[in-house]
C-alpha cells in the first residue's frame, strides 16, 4: 500500500468521521464540520465545510510498509502494521484499552526470514485471520495467514529475533502462521474474495494472479498477467476485480478469469493506487505517481445480460481535489456518497466529493431542472425577486410585456414604451418615432396627400434625399438685433424631418415652444435648454436652466451654466470662446456639452454636436436638419444610419423608417437581443406591402407566436393574430371546419355566409338577432331537422335551458361573464372520435362528472382524448 514515507490514508471501517494517516507514524483524525464548537482551534481545514482534529498519534511501529484496519467493531481502532522486515504488529490508537484489545495490542507475527511486507488483508468474515504478503526469499512462502488469536510459541523463536523487536514482551511474538501460500514467489498484493471467505486472490511476482482456496491449498486457478499490483474487489459486483501494472488498469471477471474483461486506457505515469468507490456502482478511482489528478472511471453498465460480450461504456473523468498540489494518496469514505479524503506528500489533507454527472434542462417558462445522482432539483423563476428591470432576461421581459398588452396600443402609439416598462430608452425612442409617423400620416390623410404618406414611413434618410428647394436664412439671436453668422436651412422635407424628431408638431412654421414646455414638464432641463439654444433663443435657454436649478431636486449648477451662457459673444478671439471650448469637455452632461460646442463651433462644422453619442439620435438629427447644408446633411444621415444599423440601435428607426433598411436594423437588434416581440409589433406598423413580405419579418412574427404558444399565452397569441390581421389582412386564416347536412350534404352554417367566421372548430348556432332564428333547428338547404343534442335530445339550434349543476355561486359573481358564456352554451360541439355531441353547455356539465360519452353504449372517453386540451392557458386571468 504505502511505499517510502509518503503518507497513506485509511478510513475507519466503523466510524464515518475517523481516519488514519500513516507515514512514519500513525495519526488518527476526526473529521467534523468546520467552525463548529467541537472542532477546536487547532483543527485543520479540509474543505469549505469540514475540518479535521488530530485525536492521537502512534509512533510505536517504525519501518511501516502497510497498514490494515481490523474490520470488526470490537476492539475498535485495532490496526495491523506490516514492517520492512516482514513482521506484522498489532497496534492501537488512542483508545482506552479494554481487555480484549490489550491482549492483542503489541502482538507480533514474525516470518521465518526477514523481508519486506508488501500487503496486509483481514479476512472479512473470520476476522482473526490476517493475510500478509511478503517479498520473495528463496523458496520460502510469500503469503502467510496469521491467526491473531493464536498463542505464542517460544520454542520456535530464535533469540536474536526477539531482540530485534526491542522491549516488546517476547510472549507476544507469534511465529507459526495458520497457512503458508505462494512458495518460491513474492506477493505484491492480495485480497480476500467476499463471495467465499476461504478464498484468496494473490498477485505474485511471476506475473500471475492466483486464486487459492484455503480448504485445499494445493489447488489454485491462476492466470498470467503483468497486472499484479493493487488487486481489489468491486464491493458492488463481487466477481469484478481490478489490478494494475505501471500505467494500465485491468478489470477482471472472476467467472471468466482467463483474460481481463477489458483494460483501461494507459496513463503515462505508473499508478500508485486503484480503489473502487464503496458507495456507488462501477466507479473506480486511480492515482498515478507525482500527479495532482485523480482519474475516475465510471463504468456505466454492469457487464450483464445479452448473449455476446459488450464492453460497458466507460466514462473517464479526472478530478483535481487540491488544485496544484501533488496527491500522495486518497481513500473513499466508507459510507458518504462519493466522498474521499486525499493527502499530499506534506500531509495537507483535503475532503472532497466526486459529483455525479448532472443533466439539466430549461423549461419554456425559464425554470431550470437538473438531475444530480438520483435526485431532481428545480430552480424556478421567482417573480417577486424585485430585480431591476434592466437586469431581467429578455424572455422574462417579453412575458411581462405580453401580459401588459405591449404593442397593442394603436391610438397612442408612444404609450407602448410605457407598457414595456418605460425603462428602455431605445424602446421609448422607437415608439415615439412610430407615434410621430402615425400622427403625420393621419394629418396628411386629411389633406389627401398620399405621396407624402408613403414617404413618411421610409424614414428621414429617404426624406432628406428627396429634399429640394432648400432655402438658407440667417436669423437673429432672439432678443437682439444682431444677425448671427449661423446659416439655417429650411425646406418642406426638413420640417417634415423635424416633425418626426418631435421638435415641432405640424405645419411649416418652426415653433418649438410646445416641445420645450413638454420637456420642462418632464424635468429634462438640459435637453430643453439645448433645443432652445439651437433655435437661437439664448434667453429662453437661460430661463429654462434657471427654472431647472430652482425646481425640486434641481441642480444648482444649472445656474452657473446659465451664467456662462449669458456671456456668449460671437467675437472670434474672445476669452469667453477660448475658455468655453476647453472647459466644455469637462462637462459631464452631454446636452450642456453640446450647447457650448455649438456656440464655439465655426458655422458648418458641428462635429462636436453631431457625433456626441450620448445625445439622443433624434436631437442630433433635428440639429443636423437645421444646420447642415444639402451636401453635408445626406452624408451625415447616411453615416449615422449605417452606425445605427450595425449596432442594432432602435433609435435608428427614425432614420431608416420601416423600409428594407429598417428591417436590416431590426435584424441586428434581434441578433443582439432576441427581442422578436418588439420586432414583430414594430414591423406590423409599417406599410403592409413591403416590409411584411420580407422573410425575416415573417420569421420574427412566427417566432414570437411560437413563444406565446410555448408560454401558453394563447389568448395573447390570439389577440396578436387579430391585431396582425387588422394591419396585414393577408395573414387571416381560412375557416377550418364546415358542418354538412346529413341529408343534402350542403354546409349548414349560414352564419358563415351571413357574418364573418367566428371561432375555431365550432360552427356557431343560434346567433341572436339572426332573421332565420325560428328555423335554426333545420338545415338551411333542405329544411330537414338538425341532429339532436345527446343530452337534452332537442334538435340543435334550440335555445338551451339552463342545466342542473351549472348555476353555481361563482357564475353569479360575474353576471356579464355569465351572459357571454350563455351564448357559448348554445354552440354545437361534438367529439371528434365518436362523433356524438350536443350543446356545448350540456356537454361541459356532463363531463364535469363523467369521463365517458353520454350516448348509451358509447365508451368513448371524449374529454381525455386531447392532453393539450386539458392545459389551461396561463394568461386567462
Amino acid at each position: 500500500m504505502s511505499s517510502g514515507y509518503k503518507p497513506d490514508i485509511l478510513w475507519s471501517p466503523h466510524h464515518a468521521d475517523r481516519y488514519v494517516i500513516c507515514d512514519t507514524e500513525l495519526s488518527l483524525y476526526r473529521i467534523g464540520p468546520a467552525g463548529s464548537p467541537e472542532t477546536k482551534a487547532g483543527a485543520l481545514p479540509l474543505s469549505e465545510q469540514t475540518a479535521a482534529t488530530l485525536l492521537a498519534i502512534n509512533s510505536d511501529t517504525p519501518y511501516m510498509k502497510c497498514v490494515a484496519w481490523y474490520p470488526k467493531h470490537e476492539p475498535e481502532c485495532l490496526l495491523a502494521v506490516g514492517q520492512a522486515n516482514g513482521r506484522v504488529v498489532l497496534t492501537s490508537l488512542g483508545q482506552s484499552h479494554n481487555s480484549k484489545c490489550k491482549e492483542l495490542v503489541g502482538k507480533e507475527f514474525v516470518p521465518k526470514h526477514a523481508r519486506q511486507c508488501n500487503t496486509l488483508a483481514w479476512n472479512p468474515v473470520d476476522s482473526n485471520w490476517l493475510a500478509a504478503g511478503l517479498d520473495k526469499h528463496r523458496a520460502d512462502f510469500s503469503v502467510l495467514i496469521w491467526d491473531i488469536s493464536s498463542k505464542f510459541s517460544p520454542e520456535a523463536v530464535p533469540a536474536e529475533k526477539v531482540r530485534l523487536s526491542g522491549d516488546v514482551d517476547s510472549g507476544l511474538v507469534v511465529t507459526k502462521p495458520l497457512y503458508e501460500l505462494g512458495q518460491n514467489d513474492a506477493c505484491l498484493s492480495l485480497c480476500w474474495l467476499p463471495r467465499d471467505h476461504q478464498k484468496l486472490l494473490l498477485a505474485g511476482m511471476h506475473r500471475n494472479l492466483a486464486i487459492f482456496d484455503l480448504r485445499n491449498t494445493s489447488q489454485k486457478t491462476f492466470v498470467n498477467t503483468k497486472a499484479i499490483q493493487g488487486v481489489t474487489v468491486d464491493p458492488h459486483f463481487q466477481d469484478r476485480v481490478a489490478s494494475f501494472f505501471e500505467g494500465q488498469v485491468a478489470i477482471w471477471d472472476l467467472r471468466k478469469f482467463e483474460k481481463p474483461v477489458f483494460t483501461l486506457t494507459e496513463q503515462p505515469k505508473p499508478l500508485t493506487k486503484v480503489a473502487w468507490c464503496p458507495t456507488r456502482m462501477g466507479l473506480l478511482a486511480t492515482l498515478t505517481r507525482d500527479s495532482n489528478i485523480i482519474r475516475l472511471y465510471d463504468m456505466q453498465h454492469t457487464p450483464m445480460p445479452f448473449g455476446d460480450e459488450v464492453e460497458p461504456t466507460i466514462i473517464e473523468r479526472s478530478v483535481q481535489p487540491c488544485s496544484e498540489s501533488i496527491i500522495s494518496s486518497f481513500a473513499w469514505h466508507p459510507s458518504a456518497q462519493n466522498r474521499m479524503v486525499v493527502v499530499s506528500p506534506n500531509r495537507v489533507m483535503n475532503d472532497f466529493t466526486v459529483f455525479e454527472r448532472i443533466s439539466l434542462a430549461w423549461s419554456s417558462t425559464t425554470a431550470l431542472m437538473w438531475a444530480c445522482g438520483r435526485h431532481l432539483y428545480e430552480c424556478t423563476e421567482d417573480a417577486g425577486q424585485g430585480a431591476a428591470a434592466a437586469e431581467k432576461d429578455i424572455a422574462t421581459k417579453m412575458r411581462e410585456r405580453a401580459q401588459s398588452h405591449y404593442g397593442h396600443d394603436t391610438v397612442q402609439v408612444w404609450r407602448n414604451h410605457v407598457l414595456a416598462g418605460g425603462d428602455d430608452p431605445q424602446l421609448r425612442s422607437l415608439w415615439y418615432t412610430l407615434h410621430f409617423m402615425k400622427q403625420y400620416t393621419e394629418n396628411v390623410e386629411q389633406k389627401q396627400q398620399s405621396n407624402k404618406q408613403s414617404l413618411i414611413y421610409s424614414g428621414i434618410k429617404n426624406i432628406v434625399k428627396s429634399s429640394s428647394g432648400t432655402t438658407e436664412t440667417r436669423r437673429c439671436w432672439s432678443g437682439s438685433d444682431r444677425q448671427t453668422d449661423v446659416p439655417r436651412y429650411h425646406s418642406e422635407e426638413r420640417s417634415l424631418a423635424l416633425q418626426l424628431c418631435g421638435w415641432i408638431s405640424r405645419g411649416p412654421d418652426i415653433d418649438v415652444e410646445p416641445f420645450l414646455k413638454s420637456l420642462e414638464q418632464e424635468g429634462e432641463w438640459e435637453r430643453a435648454a439645448a433645443v432652445a439654444l439651437f433655435n437661437l433663443d439664448i434667453r429662453r435657454a437661460i430661463q429654462i436652466l434657471n427654472k431647472g436649478a430652482s425646481a425640486e431636486k434641481g441642480d444648482l449648477n444649472l445656474n452657473v451654466v446659465a451664467m456662462a451662457l449669458s456671456g456668449y459673444t460671437d467675437e472670434k478671439n474672445s476669452l469667453w470662446r477660448e475658455m468655453c471650448s476647453s472647459l466644455r469637455l469637462q462637462l459631464k452632461k452631454p446636452y450642456l456639452c453640446i450647447m457650448f460646442a455649438f456656440l464655439t463651433s465655426e458655422p458648418g462644422t458641428y462635429d462636436a454636436v453631431l457625433y456626441e453619442s450620448r445625445v439622443a439620435v433624434r436631437d442630433r438629427v433635428a440639429f443636423a436638419c437645421m444646420f447642415l447644408n444639402d451636401a453635408q446633411l445626406p452624408r451625415y444621415i447616411d453615416k449615422l444610419t449605417y452606425e445605427m444599423k450595425e449596432a442594432g440601435n432602435l433609435e435608428g428607426i427614425l432614420l431608416t423608417g420601416l423600409t428594407k433598411d429598417g428591417v436590416d436594423l431590426m435584424e441586428s437588434y434581434v441578433d443582439r437581443t432576441g427581442d422578436v416581440q418588439t420586432a414583430s409589433f414594430c414591423m406590423l406598423k409599417g406599410s403592409p406591402g413591403e416590409v411584411l413580405k420580407d422573410p425575416r419579418v415573417q420569421c420574427w412574427i412566427e417566432n414570437y407566436r411560437n413563444l406565446l404558444d410555448a408560454w401558453r399565452f394563447w389568448h395573447k397569441r390570439a389577440e396578436f393574430d387579430i391585431h396582425r390581421s387588422k394591419l396585414d389582412p393577408s395573414s387571416k386564416p381560412l375557416p377550418q371546419v364546415f358542418v354538412s347536412c346529413n341529408f343534402c350534404g350542403k354546409s349548414i352554417s349560414y352564419s358563415c355566409s351571413a357574418i364573418p367566421h367566428q371561432g375555431r372548430g365550432f360552427s356557431q348556432y343560434g346567433v341572436s338577432g339572426s332573421p332565420t332564428k325560428s328555423k335554426v333547428t333545420s338545415c338551411p338547404g333542405c329544411r330537414k331537422p338538425l341532429p339532436r343534442c345527446a343530452l337534452c335530445l332537442m334538435n340543435m339550434g334550440t335555445p338551451v335551458s339552463s342545466c342542473p349543476g351549472t348555476g353555481k355561486a361563482d357564475e353569479k359573481a360575474d353576471l356579464t361573464r355569465d351572459k357571454k358564456l350563455a351564448q357559448f352554451n348554445n354552440w354545437f360541439t361534438w367529439c371528434h372520435n365518436c362523433r356524438h355531441g350536443g350543446h356545448a353547455g350540456h356537454m361541459l356539465s356532463w363531463f364535469r362528472d363523467h369521463s365517458e360519452c353520454p350516448v348509451s353504449a358509447c365508451t368513448c372517453k371524449c374529454m381525455q382524448l386531447d392532453t393539450t386540451g386539458n392545459l389551461v392557458p396561463s394568461d386567462s386571468v
Binding site: E316, C379, T380
Partner: protein, 400 residues
Amino acid sequence: MGHMLSKFNVIGPLAASRLKKKKKKSREVHTFVFTSRVPLSRSVDDKNRMFVARSIAADHKDLIHDVSYDFHGRRMATCSSDQSIKVWDKGGNGEWTCTASWKTHSGSVWRVTWAHPEFGQVLASCSFDRTAIVWEEIVGESNDKQRGQSHWIKRTTLVDSRTSVTDVKFAPKHMGLMLTTCSADGVVRIYEAPDVMNLSQWSLQHEISSKLSCSCISWNPSSSRAHAPMIAVGSDDSNVTYGGKVQIYEYNEVTRKYAKAETLMTVADAVHDIAFAPNLGRSFHVLAIATKDVRIFKLVPLQKDSSSSAPTKFEVQVLAQFDSHNSQVWRVSWNITSTLLASSGDDGCVRLWKANYMDNWKCTGILKGDGSQVSGQPGALSGVLGSATAQSALNGATGR
C-alpha cells in the same frame, strides 16, 4: 435570401472601431451596475434561498441520466440507469407529480425527449441496449386518469444500431415528425413517420456516418426558410491528437442528402453534450458545446448561391470558452430565448451564463448540484434567473 446574409462580410473598419469604442464605454456602466447590486442581492438571497432551488423526490433506483421538458414546460420526463422512464406533470400548485413510471429498456436509458405536442403526447428514449423507442400516451381503458396515472405504450422500437444508442432527438416541428438517433459506432440515423397519425411506422431516411463514436446530437431549431435543416453531432472519442469532435451536417435540397457543412477542428477533447440555441429569428446560429470546457460557437452563414449543391459555408467564431467547471463539462442547455445558458460539470455545480449586449459572456449564477449555495459567490443565486446584466447597459450609455 442571399442579399441579407451578405452584410456580415462587410463590416467596415470605421464602424468596427466605433463599435469598439461604444462597447468599452458601456462596459464601464455595466460593471458599475453589477457591483452596486452585490449587497442588495445578498439580502434578497438569504430570504429566498429555500425556494429558489427545491428538491423533488425522484424515486429512481439509479442515476438519472436525462431530464426533458415538453414544449409547454408542464410535463417532464426523466430516465435512469434503472432502465425506467418517469413522466411528471405539473399541478396547479406548481408541484410535480409522477404520473407514469415504467421499465423501458434492458439497459441504462441515456436520453429521453418530447415530440412537439401537435404530434400528440410522444416521447422517444434511447438506451445502452442498442435501441431507441417511441412512446405514446394513450387514454387507457381503465380509469387511469382518475388515479392520476397515465398510460404509455411502445409504438416502435428502432433496432438499426449495433451499439449503444447515445442520443435521440426529434427534429424541429416544421420538418414534420422526424426522429434522429446517434450511436457509439458513429452513425447518425434520421427516421421519419410519414403518417403522423401512425407512430408505429418509421422509415429510415438517412444514415450519416461520422466515423467517430457519437455522444450527442442537436438540431438547429431555426424555422427560417433561409436556413436549411442542420444537425450538429458531438463525439466522445477521447483521442485528443486530432480535432473535429463536432461535425455539422446540412440537408441539401438538390441532392436530398445530408452533407458535412462544417467540422469544428478546434474541438479536440471528448464532447459530452451539444446544443443549438433557439434561433428566434436571428441571422446566425449559436452552438454550445460541453467538452472539457464550456464553449459557445457562433456560425454565421455566408452568402450562398441557392442553386448550387455545395453546403453552406459558415464563418465560425468562438464567442466564449469557460473552464470554470475545472474539468469535464457534462451538459449544456439553452433557455427559450437563448439568452441564458446552463452548464453542469465535474465541479458538481450548475453554472449559468449570460451575454451582455455585445456577446460578452459572463457567469451569472452558480448552484451546487445538491441545490445548496456556493459560499463566497456574490449574488450567486439572485443572478440565477431573469436578472443580472443586460443589453440595457448599451441603452444607459447612449442616452435617450
